[in-house]
C-alpha cells in the first residue's frame, strides 16, 4: 500500500512529469521515424542502432569541434547513413527487413565500441563541457504557469523540436499529398506504381528520414541528457520506440501517447528515492509495460498491408 501511495504522491509532482516528458521525447523521435518508415512499407527495427550511432558521432564531433549544433547535425547525418544501409539492403536488394535491422543494431553496437577504443585508446572517451550541451530553454512568461509551466516550458530544446515534429509528421502523413503517397506505397505498392508514383524513391526517403530522427534522438541522449558516450547507452530505447509505434497503431499521435506511458515508467524509476521498493523492480517498469502492450492490451492493430514486403514491379 505504501508503495502505491508513494507512487501516487510522486505523480502529483511537476518534477516527475518534467522528467517523464523528456524521457518520452527520447522515445518519440525514433518512434516517429518508425511510423514513417513502416507507413511506406519498410519494417524498421534498426532505430536502436541508428540512435546509438548518432549518439557516438555526436559526442565525437562535439569533443572535436566544441560546437553542439554542428555535433547534432553530425549525429543526425550518422543516423541517416545507417538508415541508408538499411534502405539499400531492404529496398534495392530486397533482403529480409528484420534480419537487416538486427544486423544494423549489432553492427552499430560493435562499431561504436571499436571506434571508442580506436580513437581514444584505453582511457575514457571524455566528457563534453556544460557549454557544449544541447541547452535547456525556458519559454518566458509561459514557464511561470504553475505545474504546467515547469512540465511543458522548462525543457531541453530538443523537446520543443520533437513536439513540433510530432505535429508535423501527423499532418504530413494524413493531410498532404506526399503523405497520401507514402501510405499508398505502404499499403499497395503495385497500385501506387501504376498510378505513376515512384515506389523506390518514397521508400528510400521514408527510411532515411527514420534514420535522421533516430540520429537526433541519439544526440539528445548523449549531448543533451548525458554528456558523454557510454557503450550501448541507448539501452533498448530503439526497441521501446518500436513498441510505442505498434501501440500507437502506426500513427504519430498514438505513438506519442505510448511514449508518454513508457517515459513515465522511466521517470518513476529515476525518481525512486521516495519509493520503498527495490529499484531493480522499478527499472523493469518500462520493459514490463512494453510486454503488456505487445500481448494485446490495445487490441489488434493492423500494420500497413505491404509492411515488410519488398516491392517487385510486375509481381502480384
Amino acid at each position: 500500500m505504501t508503495v502505491i501511495g508513494d507512487i501516487l504522491h510522486l505523480l502529483t509532482t511537476a518534477d516527475l512529469w518534467q522528467a517523464a516528458l523528456a524521457a518520452s521525447v527520447l522515445l518519440l523521435l525514433p518512434a516517429l521515424g518508425g511510423v514513417i518508415s513502416e507507413r511506406s512499407g519498410v519494417v524498421n527495427i534498426a532505430m536502436e542502432g541508428m540512435m546509438l550511432t548518432g549518439a557516438f558521432f555526436g559526442v565525437v564531433a562535439d569533443l572535436a569541434w566544441h560546437n553542439v549544433w554542428l555535433a547534432t547535425l553530425v549525429a543526425i547525418v550518422a543516423g541517416g547513413a545507417m538508415a541508408l544501409i538499411h534502405a539499400v539492403v531492404s529496398i534495392r536488394f530486397r533482403a529480409d527487413q528484420i534480419v537487416s535491422g538486427i544486423a544494423i543494431n549489432i553492427f552499430a553496437a560493435g562499431m561504436t565500441v571499436f571506434l571508442v577504443r580506436r580513437i581514444y585508446g584505453v582511457q575514457d572517451i571524455g566528457h563534453v563541457g556544460p557549454s557544449e550541451l544541447l541547452p535547456n530553454l525556458s519559454i518566458p512568461i509561459l514557464d511561470q504557469i504553475p505545474f504546467v509551466g515547469q512540465v511543458l516550458f522548462q525543457q531541453n530544446v530538443v523537446v520543443y523540436i520533437a513536439l513540433f515534429l510530432l505535429v508535423l509528421v501527423q499532418v504530413v502523413l494524413f493531410r498532404t499529398r506526399i503523405g497520401l503517397r507514402i501510405r499508398a506505397v505502404g499499403e499497395h505498392p503495385h497500385a501506387a506504381d501504376t498510378a505513376g508514383i515512384n515506389v523506390y524513391w518514397i521508400r528510400y526517403g521514408a527510411v532515411i528520414t527514420s534514420g535522421l530522427l533516430s540520429g537526433l534522438a541519439g544526440a539528445f541522449l548523449a549531448i543533451g541528457i548525458s554528456n558523454t558516450f557510454v557503450p550501448n547507452m541507448t539501452d533498448g530505447r530503439g526497441y521501446i520506440a518500436l513498441a510505442a509505434m505498434i501501440f500507437g497503431k502506426w500513427t504519430p499521435l498514438g505513438a506519442f501517447l505510448a511514449c508518454l506511458i513508457f517515459g513515465l515508467g522511466e521517470a518513476i524509476y529515476a525518481n525512486n528515492s521516495t519509493i520503498h521498493v527495490s529499484q531493480y523492480l522499478l527499472s523493469m517498469l518500462p520493459y514490463i509495460l512494453v510486454l503488456v502492450v505487445l500481448t494485446g492490451v490495445i487490441g489488434r492493430s493492423n500494420p500497413p498491408a505491404a509492411d515488410g514486403i519488398p516491392y517487385v514491379p510486375g509481381a502480384e
Binding site: 493531410r175 498532404t176 499529398r177 506526399i178 503523405g179 497520401l180 503517397r181 501510405r183 499508398a184 499499403e187 499497395h188 503495385h190 497500385a191 501506387a192 506504381d193 501504376t194 498510378a195 505513376g196 508514383i197 498491408a305 510486375g314 502480384e316
Partner: protein, 504 residues
C-alpha cells in the same frame, strides 16, 4: 499494334501480333490462359517492352515506356486484380498520383469530391467519394477502377478479365457502363475467355492462341462454336454431353443446418436437402448467400450451429475435415490457391495430400512411401491430363487450369461417396472447363453423389440434374434442370415463389 513480338526464355509470348482497334468500338481480345493476351496488353500499357513491332495511335507512332507514358497517350487499364487500396477512400484511390492540392502540399478533399462527382455524373457511374473502398462490393470497386482510369483522361480503356470477379447482376451493370462509355466516345479493349460475354458486348473480336493471332472476327457474323474452335485449336464441346441421371438411394442428407459466417452473423438459416447416388445437385445463387459456408460445414472446416448432416445413416455433422475425408466425402474447395493446394509443394505431394496417412502411402503413418506416391501421381497426371514438366514441378508454376486439375484428380482419385465441388472451373480456360465438366458427369455416372456450387448459372444449368436456389442462407426452391435462366435469376435475388421450400 503491328508485328509485336516478345520472347521470354523458352517461350514466345507474342509472335508477330497485329491488332487493330477502331475508335469507339468494343474490341474483344480472347484466348486461353497463356495465349499471350496479357503480354500484348502489358506491351500496349508500357509495362513490357517488345522485342519487335510498333504501336500506332491515331496513325502516329507511339513509344510507350511505363504506365505514365501510357496514361499520357490516353491508354488506361482496369486490372484484373484491382489496383485499389482498401483502407483509402474512393476519392483518394481515384486521385492517387494526380492529387489536387491546396497550399502547395495539402490534399484537397473538396476538389477531389467535385472532380469525382463531375465524372460520375457524366458517365452515369454512381459512387460515394467518401466511402472506404474496402467496404464496397466488388462490382463497385471495379467502378472505382474505371473512374480512376477516366480521371486520368483515358480514351482507350483496357479491361482485363473484368467479369471474372463479378456476380451476374454486376456483369450486366458493367456492360451497361461500357455501352455508355462507348457512346461517350471511348474505345474499349475487352479481354475475356467467356464467350457469351464477348458475343454480347463486343463489336469485333481478335482471337489469340499460343502467342499468335489466329482470327479476326466480326461479332455479328460469328458464334460461340467458331470462337471456341479458334481459341483451342480443335473442336470443343461447349454443351456437356450427358445421359439422363439414374439416381440411386439417398446417400447424403442435410437437415435444417445452421451456421455462422466468419463475422459471426448467421450464414445458413436452416438448410435441408437430400442427395442421391448418381445425381448432380446444383446450388445456384448470388455469391455471399451462404453457399461457401454450406460447403465448408459439409467438408468439416466450419462448425455447424444446428441441424444434422447424415452420410448414409451415420451422423457426420461434427466431423472435422480429416474424418469427413476418411468417411468418403471429397471436397473441391472454391479457393484453389488458398485452400486447394500447397503452392510450394510439388504436383506429387499435392496429389497425395489428405491421404498421406493411408497405409498405401506411408508406413504406420510415419514414413512416406515415396515410390508409391510417385506411381500414384504419375497415374493421376496421365488420367487427368495435367500438363506439366513432371510430377516434381511446383504447383505454383502451373496455369490455373492445370492447378485445378490437380485438385480434381486428388478428390476424384479414390471414388468418393459424396463430392462437394465448389466453383470447380473458376478462372480456368475452356479446355480445362470441358475436361472438368466431363469428369464431373463421369463421376456421377459411377454413382457418386455430387453437390455442385457455382456462380456461373450456365454451368449449373448444363451439369445439374436438380437445381437448389440459395438466397440469404436458405434454399428458396429446388427446380428441375431445364428451368429457364430468367426464373433462376429471379429466385436468386429473392423474387418469384419456390416450388419446394428448402427451409424447414
Amino acid at each position: 499494334m503491328r508485328g509485336i513480338t516478345k520472347a521470354w526464355p523458352g517461350v514466345i509470348a507474342n509472335n508477330g501480333v497485329n491488332l487493330t482497334v477502331r475508335a469507339g468500338e468494343v474490341h474483344a481480345l480472347v484466348g486461353e490462359n497463356g495465349a499471350g493476351k496479357s503480354t500484348l496488353m502489358n506491351i500496349l500499357y508500357g509495362l513490357i517492352h517488345p522485342d519487335a513491332g510498333e504501336i500506332l495511335i491515331n496513325g502516329t507512332h507511339a513509344r510507350i515506356t511505363g504506365a505514365r507514358g501510357a496514361i499520357a497517350h490516353g491508354i488506361g487499364m482496369v486490372h484484373q486484380h484491382f489496383m485499389l487500396i482498401p483502407v483509402f477512400s474512393v476519392g483518394e484511390n481515384v486521385m492517387l498520383g494526380r492529387e489536387p492540392v491546396t497550399g502547395g502540399a495539402f490534399y484537397d478533399h473538396a476538389r477531389a469530391r467535385k472532380e469525382i462527382e463531375a465524372l460520375t455524373q457524366r458517365y452515369g457511374l454512381a459512387l460515394d467519394p467518401d466511402a472506404r473502398t474496402g467496404d464496397l462490393p466488388v462490382g463497385l470497386q471495379q467502378r472505382v477502377e474505371i473512374v480512376k482510369v477516366l480521371y486520368r483522361g483515358a480514351n482507350i480503356l483496357i479491361l482485363d478479365e473484368p467479369t471474372g470477379v463479378l456476380t451476374p447482376q454486376e456483369s450486366i451493370e458493367l456492360f451497361g457502363v461500357l455501352r455508355d462509355l462507348v457512346k461517350a466516345g471511348k474505345t474499349i479493349i475487352f479481354i475475356s475467355h467467356k464467350l457469351r460475354e464477348v458475343l454480347e458486348i463486343s463489336d469485333r473480336i481478335t482471337v489469340m492462341r499460343r502467342g499468335k493471332v489466329v482470327g479476326h472476327l466480326v461479332t455479328k457474323e460469328t458464334n460461340e462454336q467458331e470462337i471456341a474452335t479458334l481459341m483451342v485449336g480443335r473442336e470443343v464441346l461447349l454443351r456437356v454431353e450427358k445421359k439422363p441421371a439414374e439416381p440411386g438411394p439417398v446417400t447424403f442428407r442435410v437437415e435444417n443446418l445452421t451456421a455462422s459466417s466468419d463475422r459471426g452473423v448467421p450464414a445458413l438459416r436452416g438448410v435441408s436437402f437430400e442427395l442421391r447416388q448418381g445425381e448432380i445437385l446444383g446450388i445456384a445463387g448470388v455469391e455471399g448467400n451462404g453457399q461457401s459456408e454450406l460447403v465448408e460445414v459439409l467438408a468439416g472446416t466450419r462448425r455447424a450451429t444446428g441441424g444434422r448432416v447424415l452420410l448414409g445413416d451415420r451422423d457426420v455433422t461434427a466431423f472435422d475435415a480429416r474424418m469427413e475425408r476418411d468417411s468418403g466425402i471429397a471436397h473441391i474447395p472454391e479457393d484453389r490457391r488458398g485452400t486447394g493446394l500447397v503452392l510450394a509443394y510439388s504436383i506429387a505431394d499435392n496429389l497425395v495430400l489428405g491421404r498421406q496417412r493411408a497405409p498405401a502411402f506411408s508406413w504406420h503413418g510415419m514414413l512416406l512411401r515415396t515410390s508409391a506416391i510417385k506411381a500414384w501421381a504419375k497415374r493421376l497426371v496421365k488420367e487427368f491430363d495435367i500438363r506439366a514438366g513432371g510430377i516434381d514441378v511446383l504447383a505454383r508454376t502451373l496455369s490455373g487450369g492445370n492447378q485445378q486439375k490437380i485438385i480434381v484428380a486428388r478428390e476424384m482419385g479414390n471414388r468418393p461417396r459424396v463430392l462437394l465441388a465448389a466453383q470447380p472451373t473458376r478462372g480456368v480456360d475452356i479446355g480445362a472447363i470441358e475436361f472438368i465438366h466431363r469428369r464431373l458427369v463421369a463421376e456421377r455416372d459411377e454413382g457418386t453423389a455430387v453437390l455442385l456450387v457455382s456462380a456461373e448459372l450456365e454451368e449449373i444449368r448444363s451439369l445439374s440434374d436438380r437445381i437448389a436456389v440459395f438466397y440469404e442462407g436458405r434454399i428458396v426452391s429446388i427446380e428441375p434442370a431445364d428451368t429457364p435462366e430468367e426464373r433462376l435469376g429471379l429466385l436468386m435475388t429473392g423474387g418469384g415463389s419456390g416450388t419446394r421450400t428448402g427451409a424447414a
